[in-house]
Structure formats: C-alpha cells, structure tokens
C-alpha cells in the first residue's frame, strides 16, 4: 500500500477492481460495501424496468463517496440496496463482510438498525415527536434502555449543534435544523455507513453548505459516507464520485478528476473545505 497523506480514505481503482472481480469470496472486513454485478429489475405489468443492470461497487472504511447520475439512472435504487431496504434480483452485496443478499427480513431490519444511518431528502422525522424522541427511535428498536437512549440521543444532537433544540418538534425547526436532527438520528447508533439520498435536495444553497460541513466533519472523524446528489458542486464535497447511467457505473473517480472533468469552479469546493 502506497497511499500518500492525500490518499487517506480513498481506495485505488486497482484495489477496488481486485475486491469486486471474484464473485463469492468474502471481502476483507475493511471493505464496508462490496457490490458485485448488482441487479434490480421491476416488473411493471409485463414490461421489465431494469433499474440496475449489474453494478460493481466497492467502498472502503472512511471513504466519502458521492453518487451522481441523471434522473432515472438508478441512484435511489442503488442506495436502497446498499441501505438494506430492498433486495437485489441478481448479483451479490456484502456489507462489512456479511452477505446481505442472503439475509431474512428480520436480519435486514437488524442490519438497518445497527449498520446503516439513513438521511432522506424529505428528512422523514415523526411530526409529533420532539427532536430528542426522533433521535431516540433507532435506539428503541435496538433495545437500549430509556436513560441511556436519552443520553446518547442528547449527545448526538449536541454533535450537530442542536443541543438547545432537544424538545422542539419538527415544525418548530428550520429545514437545515430538521436535516441535522435526521443526521443525528442516523448517527446515534454509530452505524458503519451514513447513507444520504439527496440530503440537500430540499434545502437552499446556504443551508446545503451547512449540511455539507456537517458531512465533512463526520468524514474527518472517520465516518464512512455515501451520498446521492445530482448537483455537481455538492458532489464535489466528497472525495470520490461515482456516476451512474442507465443502471450501470459509468465512472468512478477521485473528486479532483471529477471537478476537472465537469469544470466546477475551484472556489465553490474550496469554501466547503474550510
């Protein structure tokens, strides 16, 4: 391994190819996500919609990956598979060295609870519950006792600067604050990956930058992050950008190459890094 300082948290193309290429082998647990030839088809009354047509993807611990692609290219479908909300029709999916594609419903629920932190475009908070109660939810299903739940949920909200808003309900919070509650909820069970499907899709650009700073910090602390976006300047916050087209991976490259290729002004990305 000859990673430079700059390379920390980025796997090389060669490493990825190596881990993806041999079907059936258990990847090194260092690889959080390994998808080999992942397929997902929808049967729409006779007409088969092939949302994913064989996706190879490997993401190592600490990576910060953005997934891009035109509308309908299969980004959300892929995120749902990675997040164990859905099962593939073909191919294999390994999460932390476990073969997810062979799991039962209850095992999937357990994995979602322990290993996955989800952040949605529409926040998806329970409207009648307070920020604290919303963040406690994954801990409830993890069977954590009430006092510890409260302590950990408070801690998670503190970490996204929402300490003073514990008892506010979602309609008493701004969009950015709501999304930070959602991030706290995603992180409260210390998942191995944070998955975000268009986390800034419903936010204005200032608030989007705010959320991107939260992600950046998490990534620096070692959190593996995968986010879907169709805004190149949001994607540019990640260290690696995967582009999907028609259900397959079109490109998978470092941020710098992506930025150069699509020509985002350096200033935009620079701001986010400070």
């Amino acid at each position: 391994m000859s990673n430079t300082i700059d390379d920390i948290g980025i796997s090389t193309t060669g490493e990825r190819r190596a881990v993806v290429s041999v079907p059936g082998t258990t990847p090194d647990p260092d690889w959080v996500i390994v998808a080999r030839g992942l397929k997902r088809e929808y049967d729409m009354g006779g007409e088969i919609v092939r949302a994913l047509r064989g996706v190879d993807l490997a993401i190592r611990k600490n990576e910060y990956v953005a997934i891009m692609g035109p509308s309908g290219s299969g980004k959300s479908t892929l995120m749902n598979l990675i997040g164990c909300l859905d099962s593939p029709n073909g191919g294999e999916y390994w999460l932390n060295g476990m073969l997810v594609s062979a799991m039962s419903d209850d095992q999937l629920a357990r994995v979602r609870n322990k290993e996955i932190g989800f952040v949605f475009q529409t926040f998806n908070l329970l409207p009648r519950a307070t920020a604290l109660q919303n963040v406690e939810l994954p801990l409830v299903y993890a069977g954590i006792p009430a006092d510890e739940r409260k302590r950990r949920a408070t801690e998670a909200l503190d970490s996204v600067q929402l300490g003073p808003r514990l008892h506010h309900r979602p309609n008493e919070l701004s969009g950015g604050q709501r999304q930070r509650v959602a991030i706290a909820r995603a992180l409260v069970n210390r998942p191995s990956i944070l998955l975000a499907d268009e986390p800034t899709g419903n936010l204005d650009s200032t608030t989007s930058q705010e959320i991107m700073r939260v992600f950046e910090n998490l990534s620096r602390q070692g959190q593996t992050v995968v986010m879907v976006t169709h805004e190149p300047d949001i994607a540019a916050h990640a260290r690696r950008v995967v582009v999907l087209r028609d259900g397959i991976v079109e490109s998978d490259e470092r941020r710098e190459r992506f930025v150069d290729r699509v020509g985002i002004s350096h200033a935009t990305t620079k701001v986010a890094h400070d």
């Binding site: 997040g83 209850d106 609870n113 989800f118 009648r128």
Partner: protein, 415 residues
C-alpha cells in the same frame, strides 16, 4: 422493543389522536357498560327474589309439604292448575305419621293461615291481618323472635289457648302508643290475649311481612283458616343440613304416598316446596335475561370491533410513511405488529374500563332509585375488560398485519 415501550408508544399515539381514539373507545365503552349494567340488574332482581321474597317465605334447609305449591312464578299451565285444584287437602292427622319418619334433629311445624279481621278497643277500626295458626317448631324454623313478651308455651299449643303473637304493624294499628302485652285483641270476634310482639320481617314488592299474627293452631281461629278445621295449609320441615334434606324429603314422600294410597304409577298428589323449587321459574328466566344481557352488549362490542378495525385501517393508511420510517430505522415486522396491536388493545382496554365505570354508576343509580339490590358481578367486570381488550386485539390484528407487511421503500415514499 419491549412491551412497556409498546404501551407507552400506544398511549402517546392515543393522546395525540384524541378524537379518533374517543370514537374508538366509545364502541367498546358502550358495550361493556351494558354488559356490567344488565348483569348487575339481572343479578339484583335475582337477589331480590331470593333474599327478600322467597328467603323470607322459606327458611334455610327447609321445605314445605303442601297439597300444591303456593309460590308459583308464572309458569303453571291450565292442566296443571286443574290437577292442583282436585288435590286432597292436607289434614292435621297426617302430621303425626310424617313426623314419625323424620330423622333425628329435624324440626317441623304445622301451618294454617288466612286473612282475618282483627280489632281492639284501643285502635282504629278492624284490621285485616294474616293470621297463622302454628304448632311445633314454627318460630325456631323461621328464626323469628319476639321483641316484647314471649312465644306460646307447649301447653298453650296443646290446649289451643287463645293467645296471640302479633307483628309490629298490628301493634301500630291496634295498640297505638300502648304496650299490647296482656291486652285483649279480637280475631274474627273471638278474644285473644296478646303475649308477644315479633321483630320486624321487612317487606317485599311493597308487601309488608309485619301485618301478621300467630296463634296456636288449635286455638278457636282454626275453624276460620280452611273449609274444614282439620285441614292444614302446610307442614314446614327443616333439616339440620342441606345434605339431610334430600333424605328427609324422600321419607316424607313415601309416607305421604302411603297415606294417600297412591299406586306406583300415580304421580305425587302433594308438593314439597323448597326455596329452589320456588325459584325454579326465576332461575330459568334469569338464564334468558343474562343471555339477553350478554347478547345485546356483545352486539355492541362487535360494532365496536368493526369501528376500531376501520379506524385502525385508516390509521395504518395515514401512518404509512411513519411505518416505513420505523422499518428503515430497524423496526422488525413484529415490532410494527405489536405497536398496532398494543395500540388497539390499549384503546379497547381503556374503553372497557370506562365502560366498567359507567356500568357501575348505572348499577348504583338503579340501586338508589329502585328497590332492586343491584350488585355488580365481579365476573362481569373481568369479562368486560377482557372482552374489551380482546375486541381491541382482534380488530387490531388485521390492520396491524397490513402495516407490518408494508415494504419500507413504498411506505417511505408515501409521504
């Protein structure tokens, strides 16, 4: 998710969805309320008949040998009446042979009675009183005591001395503000000496049991009790225990059949009336009433169940996104299932408890404004709560299983 957590969540949801919960509660509540109230009223009627009416007429472990039953609660057909009418009356001379076969420790008494006119020089006008000629252990069997004076002596019974023990109503009427003891009273014109006053025996259905007088059977009034002076109305027999009563009744039957020269094929031409036989009709009726009392609320509960199920289905539809989210965050199918079932059964149980409360209130009101000693049956309370919660569970199962089967992605997208 542990059960405590599930109940807390259910209560939270119920709190935040007040209107919907109130409607759900109402179905169960009304059903359970009816159940409690109807059962307690039927029980009250039963207790009233048993304790206040029949209990006062027929003493414990005792039966009355009569030519026909005198407590008939409406279920005697014409043919039976016809047969009753033709029966031989009981005669005084039959008492001795019957008494002969009674097991040791058995008490018995002779009774003959009629409504007779009583007068005294101290009170207003004649008073119609139920006068009973008694002999034997009458006062012991009835556990009837005197508050003043004494009971007739064996000698007075034997000689038919004209002495009388009168009830409080008679005292009030014929001896206002006077001590009646040793004063004279006339029964159908014949003078008697008052020797005692009985304790009060209360009343039932507005009928006083205190407008009574007791004389020795052999006293002159005997001629006025029945068409012939040797006729008696009943022989009252009391066994020391319930177990011995059956045996005693068998013996009495045998003697009576011999005395009446009945052939084996012939039916008894006399009656042995127990508290149970007097209540037989009531017991039958009570069965129907309880059935109706359970069927009606049951119908209400079924309606309640349908309402709950519909409301829960709407709730599931409305909360599709929430269910999806919970699943995405790690809720298993059984977590969602139990969430909805606990919610429905909590609603059912809370409704049932409200119903129990209202039912008890209705029973208490009935007790206050009617003579019925309504009593809330503990079993009906338990049944009410169990059924209420059960209705909740049953009506929650289908919506809950629909909810638990929701695919998280579809559910999430529902927002």
């Amino acid at each position: 998710m542990n059960p405590f957590e599930a109940v807390r969540l259910a209560l939270d949801t119920i709190r935040t969805q007040k209107l919907k919960s109130a409607f759900t509660l109402m179905g169960v509540c009304i059903g359970v309320m009816f159940l409690i109230a109807v059962v307690s009223i039927v029980n009250g009627m039963g207790n009233y008949l048993k304790d206040d009416l029949v209990g006062k007429l027929i003493a414990i472990n005792s039966f009355e040998l009569r030519h026909r039953p005198n407590i008939n609660m409406g279920d005697v057909d014409n043919a039976t009446w016809e047969e009753y009418r033709k029966r031989k009356r009981l005669r005084y001379h039959e008492v001795a042979p019957v008494a002969e076969v009674l097991p040791e420790g058995t008490r018995y008494a002779v009774i003959a009675d009629n409504q007779l006119s009583m007068t005294s020089q101290y009170g207003r006008g004649p008073r119609t009183v139920r006068v009973t000629g008694v002999e034997g252990d009458f006062f012991d069997i009835k556990a009837l005591e005197v508050t003043d004076g004494r009971l007739p002596t064996p000698q007075e019974y034997m000689l038919g001395t004209p002495v009388v023990v009168i009830g409080p109503d008679v005292v009030e009427r014929l001896f206002p503000n006077l001590n009646p003891i040793d004063r004279e009273v006339r029964i159908a014109g014949v003078p008697y000496r008052v020797i005692g006053v009985t304790e009060t025996q209360g009343s039932a259905f507005g009928m006083s049991f205190d407008n009574v007088a007791y004389v020795p059977y052999k006293a002159p009034a005997r001629r006025l009790f029945n068409a012939e002076p040797t006729m008696i109305d009943a022989m009252m027999i009391q066994s020391p225990s319930e177990a011995e009563m059956t045996e005693t009744m068998e013996r009495v039957r045998t003697v009576m059949r011999t005395l009446h020269q009945l052939r084996p094929a012939e039916k008894d031409d006399f009656a042995m009336q127990t508290a149970d036989s007097a209540l037989e009709f009531w017991n039958k009726l009570q069965g129907y009433l309880v059935l109706a009392g359970v069927a009606l609320p049951a119908f209400g509960l079924v309606v309640g169940a349908i309402v709950i199920m519909n409301i829960m289905l709407v709730a599931v539809a409305e909360r599709t996104a929430e269910i999806g989210l919970r699943k995405a965050l790690g809720a298993r199918r059984k977590d969602i299932l139990s969430q909805f079932i606990v919610e429905a059964s909590t609603l059912g149980a809370v409704g049932a408890m409200a119903g129990v409360g209202l039912g008890v209130v209705i029973a208490m009101i009935m007790r206050a404004v009617t003579p019925l000693p309504t009593a809330v049956a503990p079993w009906s309370v338990v049944l009410g709560v169990v059924v209420g919660a059960g209705v909740g569970i049953i009506s929650g199962v289908y919506p809950a299983s629909r909810a638990s089967r929701l695919d998280p992605i579809t559910a999430l997208r529902a927002e």
